[in-house]
Amino acid sequence: MVKIHERKFVSCDPDKCVGCQICEYACSWTKEKAFNPMKSRIRVVRVNQIANMAVACRLCEEPACIAACPRDALTQSEETGAIIVDKDKCNGCGWCIEACDYGAIMLHPESKIVYVCDLCKDKPDGPQCIKWCPEEALTLVTSDVLAQKARIGAVKKLFQEAKAKK
């Protein structure tokens, strides 16, 4: 089983995200051969004009969605940590949707069973949303790398501010 430290998921940098929904179009096209944000595994949220961010599955350690499923329809990939939906077992009851803190698992409008980011496991070049994002706001990262990036950013800012005050 891949450890939480090694698990890579699609992360969005809100400073870069402009809310253009290209990730949604790319996802629904890749997965469903249709342009339809309602069928995208990644979803854009615009809280107000300057707060934009795309949200996809975080591949949690001990995922709440799996724990909530009364039919054992959800499992976690040993290889990547992605959530796997057993289409035969899922009946679309929605307990997992309620359990997910990020709104990352959703009910499919047609199949009526849940669906979630699978990191484009069938694509050799990985998640297509990342390939398409024109702002380079999306990355496939581990939480450790995210923390590194945040630290570097914070320190850079501190030094810039210190420099500016001089």
Partner: protein, 619 residues
Amino acid sequence: MYGYAGRVLRVDLTTGKTRVEQLNTEIAKKYVGGIGLGMKLWLDNSQAGVDPFSPDNPLILTLGPISGTMFPTAGNGHAFVSKSPATFGIGEAVAHGTFGAEMKRAGYDAVILTGKSEKPVYLWIDDDSVQLLDASHLMGKSPAETEDAIKDELGDYYIRVASIGLAGEKLSRIACIINEKTRAAGRTGMGAVMGSKNLKAIAVRGTRDIVPAKPDEFMDMVKEFHERMKGPATQKYRTLGTPENVLVHNALHCMPTRNYNNAHFENAEKVSGEVLNEKFVAKIIGCSSCAMRCEHEVIVPEGAYKGTMTRMEYETLWALGPYCGIDKLDAIIKGMELCNYYGMDAISAGVIVGFAMDCYEHGILSKADMGGVEANFGNAEALIQILEKMGKREGIGDVLAEGVRIAGQKIGKGAEKLAQHIKGLEVTGYDLRCLKTAALGFAVSFRGADHNRHGAYAFDVKGKVDRLKAEKGRGRMVRDMEDTYALIDSFIVCKFSRGTYYKEMPDMAKLYSLVTGFDMTPEELKKAGERINTIARVINVREGLGRKDDTLPWKVMNLPIPDDGPVKGAVVTQEELDLLLDDYYTARGWTLEGLPTTEKLKELGMDDALRIVEGKQEA
């Protein structure tokens, strides 16, 4: 069917009845979509001479064949078409965002709104379910507040809303229709037509799939255009944005200042795109499917207007700033926010304030007339106060909300000459006295004074022609740009992306063919652009407009540019205008009275329009 949804929704607001009809594919191919399709539908669903505020004046909402796809900027636009209460000719306005894509996914190419509701209502389109819901609790709310309230009460936060503010409710002739808080179908008073129907908002949720006819080739083209959008063709929009024009226009002395009293603003440095970006821009965001993003969101960080957040572009900055002699960016931003709050076209609103200030300085309007406002040029507080009065239609604001043409007539005492408009639509930020290709484009624009019908200013500003000269050949240039611009607004793609269509007609024809599956040649497409401009002219002819209306604002023809500099003394004379008009009509294959000829209409396959112009051509 690909590209087109194949369905037209009819809503009769008088009876509350709705009906879905099949889209006439032949008409769709001929008029493409967007404003082209909208104008055709308007013509076929209205009577000559209809009052813009009559229940019999249809308001038409259209999408384009590319709407809802992933093509960059193409997925997201929508257009409103109706008879304009400002020009009394054809009115149309396009907006982008996400509303258009959502409407397309709901499965419609057009919505024809007729009649008038007894009580305030909003239209709720939830895929196939169409309802008119009570809107009495939304009256008086801003478009942004209306959007939030509708999302709350319908319980779905991905619903897209286009709505009017108080200005639309009160039939202000400059009222616009706003979607997603900052995107406006701004010009020609479409919001007032919506208000006249007692229709507060259109809310939509669409969940259908959109699939292009030739998916693989289409995706290759999307990829190619994503790359092009990272290049020089869109750089301006991605960096400083359109406010870059402030210093460019000012240096060329082609920025109308203080209601066209000057062509150069001495304090332009204070309101430049550079300062705006440095001090106010908080974020640049993008519309649905856009790979370039342009929408500059500004926040006022300190002072009396601290916390004001809105979108800012050149035209609105110019109108609320230099055109009123105002050099305070925070007040200009506040003014923009107020225009969005009340739902007023900020270009027209700024030009009206500039007009009122000019009247005030000429003693035509007194301080008492202005409700105690000292309306001198440059008074930023006066700008805010006058905008408030216009939004609420209080005091002098009631007259001003009629637009400068009608306000000028009502005020009298020479105010008519201070009203800078064409066909009743207020001017935009290009001094036509020293941009003579643009002057022609503005004069013949079917929706009145506007840069967005032709973009002919580009020839002048970029130095491709002698901008001070009126000469033969400009007619063809304007004609070709008009055809392209009409197609852009019919597809609907974003005008800011126009530079990425390296091979204009071939690129656009390819896009149309890949999405719809209908083979379209560049020549046929060019003809469609011509047809769209021609039907606009046919409509205006039917509504009584003609050569006499293809004219220029009084100051453009009577007040030479006074500023020392490169264009001192520039003005457009009647002789020059006549030369330009003759050249344009000839290039179009129209009579010298500006009427499409029988041969031209037949050539374009517009035989159904013959009855409108025949008999008038010889007169």
